[in-house]
Symmetry: C2
Subunit: 407 residues, 2 copies
């Protein structure tokens, strides 16, 4: 007997038929003698419908009221899931975020979990009930309903797994697991049996959409081992866990592509202390998230600063920079949107050399130009022409023999 | 400045456009300097959609989970209404039933309100906010979400009016107020300026669908004066209040028709003590609500028992009676579904005589046969052929000069 937390996303509980299928899957796990906490999202599409209604009554809805509104999506699903379990003879009880004792801070629409009082859930588990918890939501110390922001249901599941000391945490989604590359782009992409938290984090920040970084960070912090798998089949998924020694034998575990990037070049700024700080302060104040940053000093005491931002933010970035350039004296801003970021990720890079050289050579061999390079301990990211990034991904995947990855 | 509770039903908040209109109406009341608590129902149709989904996943959904599910309907409306108020520049905050401190007993799907802790609402009123409360729902001592059953949002409004010591309570619905008869049947029906709780109760139990009896009973118990009016126009409605002396000047205040009735005749039962008790015990055990009861003893020590039940229950009634008849010795059951109940109601009956005679004579004059008669202190109900009940209503309305009712 194990204590298991399962999380089913919006497509997995998209309609009553899907909910009944999920109930069958839960029943199967229950019938094996396991204790089960199940976290569910709103039915796919419901959250967007609710947001559309909110915008229809008020251009800028209050975040407190948005949370009140959006929390209904998951509350509907928990009730229907509990009923579907009753329908197949499984004792089950639903919990809103508040009832599950998920206490958050006061930041409506993007609250952080502070503590979980899991006592009542554990009590119901001991009485043989499957506990169904609304993902994405919590309650703050004032008794206000909060939501956790994007990827919130994954976070609920992982936080609950820590709180109830679960033996396993399974994140059911519409993909089979984590792949060495996007299978739609790289036909030979392989599903990974396991991956470390850090690799998963680097992949998430590099455009791989399996999970939001914050859930993985939470899992890493509380050492919650979880499996990403599909609710549409019974294939084993990918286990995400703390790095272990043998993982380093594989140099590169995945290739990720992010096409939602724009390159901003600030050229000919006077090279004196504080210029760069002013540039990035202005961007931060405008709410622009800056990713890759490269600075090089040219001749005659002028510097060029290049960085990437999400494509939708590029014009906001340009606007935010104009007064700064006037202040620090000169410089021009240029935006290039026809670029994309490619990253190769692997904890093996810590102990292996030559990864960058292999990547750059492979791309040079097919004539792909590298516009920007940044590196971390376990990742190399480059910017290339968006028209050739898929090809670059295939080339990189082959260069690191990922299609033969036996893990 | 007054403290006002307003309640808007499902059709009044049926879609985002209607919600924006309700927000305008609330703003107008607010702009007159009033403090406002607003109770809203789920958008019309939402509750039925949710029930349909529940039935699709489980034939007999648990009542606890039904409450969890249905409570989302009102929670959506409170958030949207608060947002719509923000959109027109009115400070507003939404409250779920639990947040509004509406504590109920444990009877899921038909909970009774035990207490209301209105402290936080009054605090927000004092801070100038309009408080939007989810109708129909509460919380029990175990922290479980409960719903109040049919007419629950009216009950929430009236209970809150008592709890916050409101000066006025306005129940907005899709009718203009309470009429002397159904205007679709009796063209000369008049809207009543006011009506006593008892008359309203008798009308509700006689098939007039304006409000559920329980809300009126609650208002009577806590002496909450309320007005029934339409959210689709600005006409004054009908004020429901404690009976006052001048009300008795009007002998009959309304005529109501209930077509959802079936007559059950149990004939030739042995007339001995306990027979009737056994009959009605069996019906009660089968969950059949019995309305009008008439017993007459015939010759040879046999009795006939006649009563009415809701039409949908007539066959259940018949089935429940079969073993009883076998036990008490003989008797036959016959069901007549082609009947309807007509009631005339008025507190003036307490002090005026001749009401029954006037009614019976008027019907006799047009050849309408009366099959059953029952009376209370302020009501006379009769059963007639369903094909002639509308005509009977017009005749009774005329006989008591209700089209000239100057109140």
């Amino acid at each position: 007997m194990a204590r298991i937390v399962q999380k089913y996303g919006g497509t997995s509980v998209g309609d009553v038929e899907r909910i009944k299928k999920v109930a069958e899957r839960i029943k199967a796990t229950r019938d094996e003698g396991n204790e089960l906490v199940v976290v569910v999202s709103a039915r796919s599409g419901v959250t967007n419908e609710l947001i559309a209604r909110a915008k229809a009554v008020c251009e800028h809805p209050s975040e407190r009221e948005l949370d009140m509104l959006l929390a209904t999506g998951e509350q509907e699903t928990i009730a229907l899931t509990a009923m579907a379990l009753h329908g197949v003879g499984v004792a089950a009880v639903s919990y809103t975020g508040a009832q599950a004792g998920i206490f958050t801070d006061r930041m409506h629409t993007k609250a952080k979990i502070k503590t979980i009082n899991a006592g009542p859930i554990i009590e119901d588990l001991k009485q043989g009930k499957v506990v169904i918890v609304a993902g994405f939501q919590g309650i703050n110390d004032d008794g206000q309903i909060t939501t956790l922001g994007r990827g919130g249901s994954d976070l609920t599941a992982i936080a609950l797994a820590a709180a109830v000391h679960a033996d396993k945490c399974e994140i059911y989604t519409d993909v089979d697991g984590v792949y060495t590359a996007d299978p739609r782009v790289v036909k030979t992409a392989q599903k990974l049996t396991e991956i470390s938290y850090d690799e998963m984090l680097e992949l998430a920040s590099s455009g791989s959409k399996v999970m939001q970084s914050r859930s993985v960070e939470f899992a890493k912090k509380y050492n919650v081992v979880f499996e990403v798998r599909s609710s549409f089949n019974h294939n084993p998924g990918t286990i995400v866990k703390e790095e272990v020694a043998y993982m380093e034998k594989v140099v590169v575990r995945g290739v990720a592509v992010d096409k939602d990037q724009a390159k901003v070049i600030v050229s000919n700024i006077v090279d004196k202390p504080g210029s760069a700080a002013k540039v990035f302060r202005a961007l931060a104040d405008a709410g622009v998230i800056v990713d890759m940053i490269v600075q090089n000093v040219g001749r005659h005491g002028v510097a060029n600063l290049t960085f990437t931002v999400p494509q939708g933010d590029s014009h906001r970035a340009q606007k935010a920079l104009e007064p700064v350039l006037a202040e620090i004296g000169g410089g021009q801003v240029a935006i290039h949107e026809q670029i994309a970021k490619l990253s190769v990720v692997g904890v093996g890079m810590k102990t292996h050399t030559g990864v960058a050289a292999t990547l750059f050579q492979a791309l040079a061999d097919v004539g792909i130009n590298i516009e920007l390079i940044t590196t971390s301990e376990i990742k190399i990211s480059i910017v290339v022409d968006i028209a050739r990034v898929d090809e670059a991904a295939r080339v990189a995947h082959e260069a690191f023999h990922l299609s033969q990855l036996g893990v």
